[in-house]
Symmetry: C2
Subunit: 525 residues, 2 copies
């Protein structure tokens, strides 16, 4: 074979493989500005790969692009690339758990404002951080308010509720220690992720415990919940997110109301969510910023661990909420550690019945299942992928182990089943050690539709989606700015919006994208 | 959909995906004993997943099956599963670098026997291990022998050659420190792999340095080389390996002969290798063990970093050796860090010419390229996969990043291009953090032929292939004993042997396999 013929075959083989990718068609029709912007981004990436990610660092033994997020975060924030991506219009945020969306420090500040919120521990708070239990919070009715006390004093009787603000002010270990203890209990830190809990099983234990603290005892208090939803949506908008499908965990049947009574039902949760959304849309409109936010909806999530009989209740509850709030309820999902809890096969019967029921009722409540969030090969969590597809899931939450399944990836490509990929979540939950080990390029090369999401940003510290965008972009030489553009577009295309709404939102995105691209074109790489 | 119909669709979807796997056809025709053995192995695996890999350990924060090899090795050795796999007939060892095959302690003992071997360092050996340089060895002619001295004394003049044995005996830091220093310089230890050098780029630096010590200065001395080849083949046979294609690095044009002169040419290297092989076959025959070893051949490897003009010399050298030793020279390869050195495109011209030349000469010297040994997505090392295939590679060494390439995996499946997968090597070189993150299940599920290999066992400590078998087996619930049987069979089918030889070797393997299976059947799981 002559050299010329060799180069020709090579180009054609590479092109044949790339033809499966969803960004290939988009790249074939770029505007001149897009071409220029792509080039500038690639140059900045190449420069920073050397100037930021290949130098010797005093404290970090090995730097590389896409390395462990919790170790790299400060360095990421200093890069030009990150600063650029903060401004990108990101389309929809399709995979996020409401109760892990707001910065834990902000949540803590919100909680401190409410005198109903109390804290307790089983015994005096230890001076040694290693021996401190998780804090337990609760919003009490006025009649049961506790009295101020030093939670670290040997006089403290384990189990006694102390008003949160007073507990903090009186804590003899100091307010700073108190804050670190509370905030640390709601986050996974780098020592936990990369040392003490460095396995998919172990880190999940810590991950789960953060919810026990924040969700169960702080967020399920309506005054906090309202502020929480507001903070979440406002900060998402600042990050370029234009549309949200938030997963809300409806496991608990009520939350505590303003009066301290545990009687606020699911309809009120959804109603409040809708009211907060409307308020934000109104505020933005008044500021002439209506292009920045389209809407927020809720994916109803129940717990995977419940019995199939109990699941029936949640499915009916979801139907009732959909009937009452058709524009807010977007779909149904099951959550919890797939590796430890019931597989979809266990719930197949009620889930199949739910499909029949919603069909009869003329309701569109697609399944949007969390599945394949595992390192297992052929374990239940991995096999869940088959069931999600057979049950007609509209999208797949995570689908991490999908990379092992060529046939399922083909089905996703052909039927248009999008994977909600959460890169930083996967890394901190130790499904991958770093982004270069992440299967995302496998999904891209197999033409699976992808949207990038942040999953549990309050727990992982990836509080803006730009972090995930950054980690994806610096870990590849194939993917580029246009790959991210396509994922952002797909986050709209594969949302649960009506077709006409998708078109409308896409038009808004295109306007903002054009402006973003023009801004990149003014940069010197 | 009724539940029954659901189960039927599910079974059919899973079966459709599994149909691509190479073990599926084999599993369809198992003997009763094989079925029983498979079941026993799966039971033992499930039991040990709990009793060994899910317990709390005093020193290791997180245990799990397939975890970091250097941390887990002692635990692996104690398992019943590992002890079973020590006895499995493993077929061919297709990917191993001769100069990293023999336990470094054994190499050191061999070196100590030869009075010609000297050692030196740039200055007195430091008491603090952190400040010790790599030892440099050389075999000197009698006329240049050095005198005994304390290499750690402040009187030692940097660069002075000391006879190795005397240097060890006189070392004022003690023989044990001396031994640790020498042996440690030829291995990657767990602190290096998992802490100080924990990235693909950093650990490669340490990896490379081990060769500078062992290969350049110890193994390239013919008396050592001869013993080294013998030790390698004998220990491989003890591990159930029946056939070997060893990569020999022919970068240096000569090695040092018995007389201390640096003039032993490549033909003598190959001839010695052949003689040692013959000797072992003779020994085995005398012991009635001829079933245990079929033959050993050499894959000629040149350095990737040479200029394409220099490469011509090596290609011609390879042709000359093939003409002289047609039964020993099995193929041609290029080695070195793909991420840093010339891509295949750089060498395309001489490589294409080589193909023409060998065709004209009627020689069968297939390319067996190391490619895709990278975490890169679209970098040169990843792109090398396209070139290897276009250049007609017979097999692929590593091909780690092949998981990203659906089209290339399809080509491998259809054209019968086997991937030589080296699980523990990949893990220690930080392409994967652990076996559950390794892309091997992706290769299996895409029907790519696979052989498992140890790569550089002396450096990584995976001195028997059973370690790699073990790590693969415990990281999956799909793969089982029969998956490993198929990889062992494929290591014969995809070897460079003639078809008649393959049939003969396969028959021998089947005899031994049958006995192995029967032995498993006697075990209580």
């Amino acid at each position: 074979m002559a050299l010329d013929a060799y180069w020709a075959s090579r180009a054609s083989l590479i092109a044949e493989e790339r033809s499966l990718r969803r960004d290939t068609a988009y790249i074939a029709n770029l505007t001149e500005s897009e071409k220029k912007a792509e080039e500038i981004i690639r140059k900045i990436r190449a420069r920073e790969a050397k100037t930021v990610w290949s130098v010797e660092h005093e404290e970090i033994p090995a730097l590389f692009p896409g390395m462990e997020f919790l170790t790299a975060r400060k360095l990421i924030e200093e890069t030009q690339l990150f600063k650029i991506f903060r401004k990108m219009p990101k389309g929809g945020l399709l995979h996020v758990h409401l109760d892990a969306t707001v910065d834990t420090e902000v949540l803590f500040r919100i909680a401190l404002k409410h005198s109903a919120i109390h804290v307790r521990v089983p015994g005096p708070l230890a001076a040694d951080a290693a021996f401190r239990p998780l804090p337990e919070f609760w919003a009490l009715p006025v009649s049961q308010f506790g009295i101020a006390a030093d939670i670290a004093s040997s006089d403290y009787v384990g189990g006694t509720w102390i008003p949160l603000r007073e507990a903090r002010d009186r804590c003899s270990l100091g307010a700073e220690v108190f804050d670190d203890w509370v905030i640390g209990s709601m986050r996974v830190n780098s020592t936990e992720a990369y040392k003490t809990h460095n396995s998919a099983t172990k880190v999940w234990q810590k991950f789960f415990s953060t919810f026990v603290v924040s969700k169960v005892s702080l967020i399920l208090f309506k005054p906090v919940y309202e502020e929480y939803v507001y903070e979440f949506l406002r900060s998402s908008i600042e990050d370029g997110i234009m549309y949200v499908e938030a997963r809300i965990d409806f496991r608990f049947k009520t939350m505590i109301g303003d009066d301290g009574e545990d009687n606020v039902d699911h309809a009120q949760w959804v109603e409040t969510f809708g009211q907060v959304t409307d308020r934000i849309m109104q505020e933005l409109k008044e500021q002439g910023r209506e292009d920045e936010f389209y809407r927020a909806r809720i994916i109803y999530t129940a717990a995977r661990f419940v019995s199939k009989e109990e699941l029936e209740w949640y499915l009916e509850d979801c139907i009732a909420l959909k009937q009452k709030f058709p524009h807010i309820i977007a779909g149904f999902d099951l959550i919890g550690d797939e590796n430890m809890q019931h597989p979809l096969t266990y719930h197949a019967e009620p889930l199949l019945r739910f499909k029949e029921r919603t069909k009869e009722l003329g309701l569109d409540i697609p399944f949007i299942f969390h599945v394949g969030q595992t390192l297992g090969d052929g374990n239940c969590a991995d096999q869940n992928l088959f069931d999600a597809i057979l049950l007609g899931t509209k999208r797949i939450g995570h689908g991490f182990s999908m990379a092992k399944h060529p046939l399922l990836m083909k089905i996703c490509r052909e039927r248009g089943i999008l994977l909600e990929v959460c890169p930083i979540s996967n890394e901190i939950l130790r499904l991958t050690s770093s982004m270069p080990m992440h299967p995302l390029p496998i999904f891209f090369n197999n033409g699976v539709p992808i949207a990038l999401s942040s999953d549990d940003p309050a727990v992982f510290g990836n509080l803006i989606l730009s972090y995930d965008y950054y980690q994806v972009l610096v870990s590849s030489e194939v993917s580029g700015l246009m790959t991210l553009a396509v994922t952002a577009r797909d986050s709209i295309q594969f949302s649960t919006l009506e077709d006409s709404e998708k078109r409308e939102l896409l038009q808004i995105w295109e306007r903002r994208w054009k402006a973003f691209v023009e801004e990149i074109c003014t940069l010197t790489p």
